[in-house]
């Protein structure tokens, strides 16, 4: 293989790498994609909600054969305390449309499917191959990679790093600083299998309809984090994640936290009788805009989680991965037509295109949220969910207390629980971070 040259090498076969490899191969480029797992997806974890729009822009007819579980017709947001939840549910018949907007998927199956499409588009995909080094010429331009299969240097005009959150190759080559514990979340997840009819009854669904539940509150023990339950055809994805820095300070184990969530009185009946067939863990880069590293240089581009492209507020990651992968590929295709040498200056087109797209606009919009949460986790994920649940209970319980008195008690509980200054300060800080 040492003599072979490629137009582009893609490191990693997650959604970002697959979108990049597919788009370039489809345009006729000679593409090599390297994946360390036995098969694409064997190392990857997601909730998982798939946002159709991002995939449609890469593979317009994906609905014909992609392994989709359910299309989402209902979104639930729950705020928990120890015994209750306050919820906001949105369900709409409009989501039963010809081309649904969101689906649940199972990543190992989805990644395999995507990879098959990449091969069909003409790329060479090598699994069980870990890239060990980026190789540069004397001027520092990246000219190829080395792998643990031996066989020396594999040359390419440009290398797309789609290596995910643990981007060892980019880190070691000094392209990007190491992740900080306060900028990554550790998520653990289980796959709970149940008969299809049981899921449909429990969640009020028919056919391929699906529900997703996002949860925050006392289940994260005062740490910045969220939990989720997503309906697949014959299984439920159940998970919880918190910032690594918070986990380090807390005494809890991630699996005890997951167990506590599963045993919450509002969650337990949903999982009753299920068979757990997998327990997975993965990091999510949640530091936001301020943690996005340099994403282009001489002969290289960074896409997806490796570039910290996750919008934690909206639980979006795979769509940003596919979009950055596609934009990187389109940049390479365009520059090739212009006979570019893929210098940093030329590849800046990638950054520019992203800056003008929803990707960077959204990342920028929430750039202050991580800091806001970092300083306020105990209140946002503990005090407020408690106060709000207590207020709801006080309000709905009919016990001979006058309504005006109930209102007074609720207001007093907020003032006591957080203090007037704290309340106003939090509202102000949140409004400023959200803007």
């Amino acid at each position: 293989m040492s003599e072979e040259r490629f137009d582009a090498i893609v490191v990693g076969a997650g959604p970002s790498g697959n979108a990049a490899a597919y788009t370039m191969a489809k345009a006729g480029l000679k593409v090599l994609q390297l994946e360390r797992g036995e098969y694409p997806g064997s190392k990857n974890v997601q909730g998982a909600i798939l946002y159709a729009d991002a995939l449609e822009k890469v593979i317009p007819d994906f609905r014909e054969d992609a392994p989709l579980e359910r299309h989402v017709i209902e979104q639930r947001m729950w705020m928990l305390n120890e015994s209750s939840y306050v919820g906001m549910h949105y369900r709409s018949e409009d989501f039963n449309e010809e081309k649904p907007n969101r689906y649940t998927i199972i990543r190992a199956q989805f990644d395999k499917w995507f990879s098959r499409r990449v091969r069909e588009a003409g790329a060479t995909v090598l699994c069980e191959t870990t890239v060990t080094d980026l190789v540069r010429d004397i001027k520092g331009k990246v000219i190829g990679v080395r792998t643990d299969r031996g066989g020396g240097l594999i040359h390419a005009d440009v290398v797309v790093l789609a290596e995910g959150v643990n981007g060892l190759i980019g880190n070691r080559a000094g392209l990007r600083p190491e992740l900080k514990p306060e900028a990554v979340a550790l998520a653990v997840k289980e796959m709970h299998f149940l008969p299809q009819e049981v899921i449909e009854q429990r969640f009020n669904l028919k056919g391929d309809e699906g529900v997703v539940i996002e949860v925050m509150g006392t289940v994260t023990d005062g740490m910045t984090g969220t939990a989720f339950i997503y309906t697949n055809k014959e299984s439920l994805s159940v998970g919880i994640g918190c910032m690594v820095s918070d986990f380090a300070r807390n005494e809890t184990t991630p699996y005890a936290l997951l167990e506590q969530f599963k045993n919450h009185p509002s969650v337990k009946p949903l999982l009753e009788g299920s068979e757990v067939k997998e327990y997975a863990a993965h990091l999510i880069p949640e530091g936001g805009y301020r943690h996005i590293p340099e994403i282009h240089g001489d002969g290289w581009l960074i896409v997806g989680d490796a570039g910290h492209f996750v919008n934690a507020v909206h639980r979006e990651g795979s769509n940003l991965a596919m979009t950055t992968g596609r934009v990187a590929a389109e940049t390479v295709i365009r520059l090739r037509q212009l006979r570019s040498d893929f210098s940093k200056a030329d590849l800046a087109l990638y950054r520019k295109t992203l800056d003008e797209s929803f990707v960077m606009k959204d990342m920028k919009k929430y750039k202050d949220i991580p800091n806001f949460l970092h300083g306020n986790a105990a209140n946002v994920f503990g005090t407020y969910p408690r106060l709000i649940n207590e207020a709801a209970q006080r309000w709905f319980r009919v016990d001979g207390v006058a309504k005006r008195e109930k209102e007074r008690q609720i207001i007093a509980s907020f003032r006591k629980g957080r203090g007037l200054r704290g309340l106003i300060g939090d509202a102000f800080k949140l409004a400023r971070a959200w803007r």
Binding site: R36, G37, E38, G41, S42, K43, N44, V45, Q46, A48, I106, R107, A108, Q109, D111, C127, E128, T129, T130, T147, D148, R149, V165, N166, L168, E178, L179, K180, P181, V184, L186, V188, E190, M191, D221, S235, V244, F247, A248, R249, E251, T252, T253, P254, Y255, A256, L257, E259, Q260, N263, V276, K277, E278, Y279, A280, A281, H282, L283
Partner: protein
């Protein structure tokens, strides 16, 4: 929190291809572990880290899910040497 959970029971349903004799994670020899290294005994989602009777932290990465948490937490102290397993080895998620 009172819930006692055996992580071995969770890992039991997972699939792995263990690269026998070639652990991909090593703790560097140390006298006294840093707070971050000690934290791994409860932060690692696979329970790979334990403290021995001399107070040093040890790792047995057979159940490792390659999440990278231990790598990130000890990046500053440099106490953990972390690599991916050889291509094809390690955890094999059926669902992810």
């Amino acid at each position: 929190m009172t819930t006692v959970v055996k992580v071995e029971e969770k890992l039991y349903v997972n699939r792995y291809l263990v690269d026998a004799g070639r652990p991909h994670i090593k703790v560097r020899p140390h006298e006294t572990p840093s707070a971050a290294l000690v934290a791994l005994t409860h932060v690692c989602p696979a329970g790979c880290y334990t403290t021995n009777d001399r107070g040093q932290v040890e790792v047995a990465p057979d159940g490792c899910m390659e999440c990278g948490t231990c790598r990130v937490l000890t990046a500053d102290s440099g106490e953990v040497e972390w690599n991916y397993p050889r291509g094809g080895y390690g955890v094999l998620f059926k669902f992810g």
